[in-house]
């Protein structure tokens, strides 16, 4: 099925941010990111603000997509949890609902067990928010800020 456009209003974004900021604290994480499966960064929290989050988002989506492909090859629907262990930092990725990925970066100040525990709760809360965002978009048919743009607006973007 073709996915519909994702429209995040300020209040939805604030809720997502509150959840992932809490997750950073509760899981003793370095950073938390929410990425959609198409590779767009939806939200970030934590101490890794200088990180190239755009690259992180597209690579996360690529990684999850490839692992999802692998799952199907071996007869699984998907692998909902991925864990990458590094020398210093580790990455924990979980699928949230059917279109989001929750990424937690953590080091020796935390542990895999703690992250998994906290992610479970935060993931459920996020899934709820994104479900509401989707329903809202369907109900209101998402008023796009682009509805009123003119052809001139588009042309002006390309006048270098």
């Amino acid at each position: 099925m073709m996915e519909s456009q994702l429209v995040m209003q300020q209040e939805d974004f604030d809720r997502v941010l509150a959840i992932i900021q809490k997750l950073v604290r509760d899981a003793n994480a370095k950073a938390v990111f929410v990425v959609d499966k198409a590779g767009q960064l939806v939200g970030e929290a934590g101490e890794m603000q200088g990180l190239d989050s755009t690259s992180l988002a597209s690579l996360t989506a690529g990684c999850v997509a490839a692992t999802g492909g692998l799952a199907k090859v071996v007869g699984e629907e998907e692998f909902p949890i991925h864990f990458h262990q590094g020398q210093r930092d580790n990455l924990h990725m979980t699928l949230v609902g059917d279109r989001m990925i929750l990424v937690v970066v953590f080091d020796e100040r935390s542990s895999l067990g703690l992250v998994r525990l906290r992610v479970k709760k935060a993931g459920a809360e996020l899934a709820k928010v994104f479900e509401e965002v989707r329903k809202k978009a369907e109900a209101h048919h998402a008023s796009s800020p682009f509805a009123e743009i003119t052809d001139d607006d588009i042309d002006n973007l390309f006048n270098d």
């Binding site: 996915e3 429209v7 974004f13 755009t54 690529g62």
Partner: protein, 196 residues
């Protein structure tokens, strides 16, 4: 699937460059990367083999400017063109907003072009898209080569529906930005349609 974020006042769109192996998809992105102002582009990522063949994808984020107070960002992806990477191509098409088909003008690559275009249609359909319903442009690359087929021949074979088309030489950059702009405009025009 575009993503509109009211909080950061950003709109993000995804454009995928598709085409047969060695047609110049990565070269298109490299040219865009080299010729764009550092403050509008992010880091280019290439997941390639040791022989520089695309293994999974190339990725280049571009910020085009503002429309009605919204920063407009385009994420450009290429697919791996080699036939056996079909599973990866399907994954990269996920959430696509616009497609650029890069055709290799060389006569001996004509079959590969047709095969890749058919593959694009099949893979889009699996995701619920139809090629003639999404913003789509076609680029005839490698026009500088002596064995390039006549444009009329390429048009007849690859573009019977008359999608916007551009002659190009990605190594020199000819036609590269024209192709991107046409597709990006198509994506924005589509957003306008969807919102109204």
């Amino acid at each position: 699937m575009s993503f509109i974020n009211y909080s950061s006042r950003e709109i993000n769109c995804k454009i995928v460059y598709y085409g047969p192996g060695l047609c110049g998809k990565t070269t298109n992105l490299q040219h865009i990367y080299q010729k764009t102002n550092p403050d509008v582009k992010g880091k280019m990522i290439s997941l390639a083999t040791e022989t520089e063949r695309t293994l999974f994808f190339d990725f280049l984020p571009l910020a085009l400017g503002e429309i009605r107070g919204f920063r407009t960002r385009f994420h450009l992806y290429t697919v791996p063109g080699q036939v056996f990477y079909d599973a990866s191509r399907k994954l990269i098409l996920k959430g696509v907003d616009g497609v650029v088909f890069v055709a290799d003008s060389q006569i001996e690559r004509m079959e590969a072009n047709v095969e890749s275009l058919d593959n694009l249609k099949v893979n889009l359909k699996e995701q619920g898209y139809e090629l003639d319903k999404i913003p789509y442009v076609i680029q005839y690359n490698k026009r500088d080569l002596p064995n390039a087929a006549p444009l009329e021949e390429l048009q007849r074979l690859l573009n019977p529906t008359g999608a916007p088309e551009f002659a190009a030489c990605a190594t020199t950059g000819q036609g590269v930005f024209e192709t991107l702009k046409a597709n990006a405009k198509g994506v924005l025009a589509d957003l306008k349609k969807m919102g109204s």
